[in-house]
């Protein structure tokens, strides 16, 4: 009866997990790293279930301090050209909302860790923050994380992907794209937004510099 919802791309993985609130002082990064290590074990046949409890509540408020970093990362993915880029479209606010409101604790941790990793990587390779990197350096950094994510997709089994969510770069890119394409600037200038079409024209000649439709 319903629409072809399976065709919708926003696939949100649903599962229940147990959080352990009794040890709030445990470092978030370490906790997740432990789980990562253990989840590799689970590939070898262990049940990963009991390790869910190692998941700590993410200190999600932290994400606001990364707002500039997220904005710069998003802008590197969708830069300003003759149409607005991600930053102008406020993709950073969208991403913060999605990570805060629409993500599981492991997904939140994966994302926050990814941001930390970007900072660490820039510090050790360029002795500065991502935000202050040159355009070339930013592209180098992104390439590095894109390759890393592809590697991760390869080795993580399905269950672990469900557990931890998509790798950081994959999620960042997806949220940047979705945030941009659903934003006012992205939809109306980056793409073609047709609020009330009024008619369906099934076959029409494509126009020069044709943008694709913002909504399906």
């Amino acid at each position: 009866m319903l629409l072809l919802k399976e065709h919708i791309i926003f696939i949100i993985i649903k599962f229940k997990f147990i959080t352990n609130k009794s040890n709030p002082e445990v470092n978030r990064r370490n906790a997740v790293k432990n789980v990562l290590a253990l989840s590799f074990l689970s590939v070898a046949g262990f049940s990963g279930y009991k390790y869910y409890s190692r998941f700590k509540e993410a200190n999600i408020k932290e994400i606001y301090s990364y707002k500039n970093l997220i904005a710069e990362l998003a802008e590197t993915i969708i830069p300003k050209t003759d149409t607005p880029g991600a930053k102008q479209a406020n993709v950073q606010d969208f991403i913060i909302n999605i990570i805060t409101n629409c993500s599981s604790v492991p997904e939140q941790n994966t994302f926050l860790d990814g941001l930390d990793d970007v900072q660490d990587y820039c510090k050790s390779n360029y002795q500065t923050d991502f935000v202050k990197c040159t355009a070339e350096q930013k592209i180098e950094v992104m390439r590095h994380f894109e390759e890393k994510s592809l590697y991760k997709i390869g080795i993580l089994n399905k269950i672990n992907k469900k557990l931890l969510g998509q790798p950081f770069f994959v999620r960042l890119k997806a949220l940047t794209v979705i945030g941009y394409c659903n934003s006012f600037y992205g939809a109306t200038e980056g793409l073609a937004y047709d609020y009330i079409p009024g008619a369906y024209q099934a076959c029409i000649a494509i126009q020069p510099n044709q943008k694709s439709w913002a909504t399906k």
Partner: protein, 566 residues
């Protein structure tokens, strides 16, 4: 217990309709137009056409989290959130508030509000044919339908002319034509596929979906504006729902009383008159109990809801539930499967695009087992293919496009190649063991037993899914598509939201619940015209059949009432 019997006069009507969804709305319209004072009981809140569609005009950037569901929504409603997004979540129940028990995974998608799921339905309108009505008798599954196509055909006419169905006449015996508004157009790639798969026998073709979306103004509604936001409720009245169409008409007669927040717990049976006298209701908000009385009762609470009301209506005469002498109430639960199919890419038509968002795809009507012939396919019955063609746009492109920066943005924002996605909507046989029961140990917030659902697709459906993958991929291949991939999402039962069969019609009171007039065999003034009456599932989207059978049963009930027989 607070029983407010009130004065019987105040609580007494000519007819009671339980449920205001697509079939309940029709019962309300028909009965009130015949002059019967009618009470419609709806367990959820009221939803007024247009003014209660809060998201209908919102633009994508006006949703705080885009169209992502919040983690809270997902946790509270792990089943419903698979169907809703922030644009239409207010038309779905909260799973935590309305729990049920899954013996095996079953997605029970519900919309507890005035209009029910008619607000969020897929709007596909297909007639059943004698291929379907004869199927059980010919292959021995389930029981024989007590009606044939000629019994329902005039009622299909009647309903289609009222709701407005756009579509194309195709002269197929397995999918009879109806009264259609002008069809929507197929786009380039769909036309190409259509011309490729048309065969000499004329029994395999591709046609535009037949949908209750108005291609021209109709009955003071519409036309469709091609926004493709139907499930938020349409401020243009571009598609048929109880809210936009049948309920306003019923109100206009002056004969309709609508009571929302009214959970019907049971139908009251009187052993001396051998009839139902009324219903017992719990007010959802106050939790007070009320009783209402009427000469006839239409039960339209949706397939699973209707069966649970019958099972819960116990009396000395019916210790196992009202009208359940046959022990078939709750059994033979069916849902179409729609998991298997194929997709592919087409390299042509690069200079062609489309404008507007057509709220419907295409249909390839059933082409398997058209003559009940013995075949080596390994399965009985058949399926139709539903799908759509489009150019890849940003949601399709970003995951397959590596990189980032200017080049990435350029690919992201321009139309990609044409693709077609299509899947088989397949018939599910009636199995006695696919059933719902009530669990009296576990109760909901209103003290009502939880519904236990035990359902699975079986070998016939699995084999059919394999065939769907094969034939749909073959069609794409023959039409010159590239990168063809087949899929089987293996969605659990309920996912197509076509629950049917839990109070089946039949010729024999020993093996069925309802007679040829949708009347309980042994309680003549109770009529059931939601999906629960379906004796077999066919493969067509079933709502049109519910509406036609409702109108038919209303006329019968009215004539019987006039003749003093009820």
């Amino acid at each position: 217990m607070n029983i407010n019997t009130g004065s019987n006069l105040e609580n007494t009507f000519d007819a009671i309709v339980i449920g205001s969804g697509i079939s309940g709305g029709w019962a309300a319209k028909e009965l009130t137009q015949k002059g019967l004072k009618t009470l419609v009981l709806e367990r959820g809140r009221d939803v007024k056409h247009v003014s209660d569609y809060p998201t209908a005009n919102l633009k994508p950037w006006e949703f705080k989290n885009g169209l992502f569901n919040t983690q809270k929504d997902i946790m509270e409603s792990p089943i419903q959130s698979g169907g809703f997004d922030p644009g239409d979540r207010h038309f779905y129940v909260n799973d935590t508030e309305h729990p049920y028990i899954q013996e095996k995974p079953f997605n029970w998608i519900r919309g507890y509000q005035v209009g029910g799921r008619s607000l969020i339905w897929g709007r596909q309108c297909y007639r059943l044919s004698d291929l379907d009505f004869e199927a059980n008798a010919k292959d021995g599954n389930g029981v024989d339908w007590p009606i044939r196509y000629q019994d329902i055909a005039p009622w299909y006419d009647y309903v289609e002319k009222y709701i407005g169905v756009s579509g194309q006449v195709e002269n197929l015996s397995q999918l009879p034509d109806g009264h259609f508004l002008p069809p929507m157009d197929l786009n380039c790639v769909e036309k190409h596929l259509a011309s490729s798969l048309k065969n000499k026998n004329g029994d395999r073709l591709l046609t535009i979906a037949r949908v209750a979306n108005l291609t021209k103004g109709w009955d003071n509604r519409g036309p469709c504006q091609y926004r493709n936001l139907c499930s938020r409720g349409c401020p243009f009245g571009g598609y048929f729902s109880s809210n936009s169409s049948t309920l306003p008409v019923a109100f206009a007669t002056g004969n309709l009383t609508l009571r929302d927040f009214s959970i019907v717990t049971e139908i009251i049976y009187d052993d001396t008159t051998k009839k139902a006298t009324g219903v017992r209701v719990i007010d959802k908000i106050t939790k007070k109990e009320y009783e209402y009385f009427a000469k006839i009762i239409f039960l339209n609470a949706s397939t699973i809801g209707t069966a649970s009301i019958l099972l819960n209506s116990k009396s000395k005469r019916f210790p196992d539930g009202l009208g359940n002498d046959s022990q078939q109430v709750g059994r033979n639960l069916m849902d179409h499967h729609s998991s298997a199919g194929a997709g592919g890419m087409y390299e042509g038509f690069k200079d062609q695009y489309y404008k507007g968002r057509r709220p419907a795809g295409f249909l390839i009507p059933r082409y398997r087992n058209l003559k009940h012939e013995k075949t080596d396919l390994g399965f009985l019955r058949g399926y139709n293919l539903q799908g759509h063609g489009e150019r890849q746009e940003w949601p399709d492109r970003f995951q397959n496009t590596d990189g980032f920066g200017v080049d990435f943005k350029s690919k992201l924002t321009t139309p990609g190649p044409w693709t077609v996605w299509m899947a088989g909507w397949g018939e599910c046989l009636p199995y006695q063991e696919n059933r719902i029961t009530l669990n009296n140990e576990k109760k909901d917030a209103w003290g009502q037993p939880l519904v236990n659902i035990d359902f699975s697709f079986k070998d016939n459906e699995e084999k059919m899914m394999e065939d769907i993958q094969t034939t749909s991929a073959e069609m794409l291949e023959k039409a010159g598509f590239k990168d063809i991939g087949t899929f089987n999402y293996k969605k659990p039962g309920g996912s197509t939201v076509h629950e049917m069969g839990t109070a089946r019609m039949g010729r024999d009171a020993k093996t069925s619940v309802l007679n040829a007039h949708n009347q309980l065999h042994d309680v003549k003034n109770v009529f059931i015209t939601d999906g629960s009456f379906m004796t077999s599932s066919a493969c067509q989207n079933p709502s049109l059949t519910y509406m036609a059978m409702t109108a038919r049963a209303c006329e019968f009930a009215y004539q019987q009432l006039k003749a003093g027989l009820l």
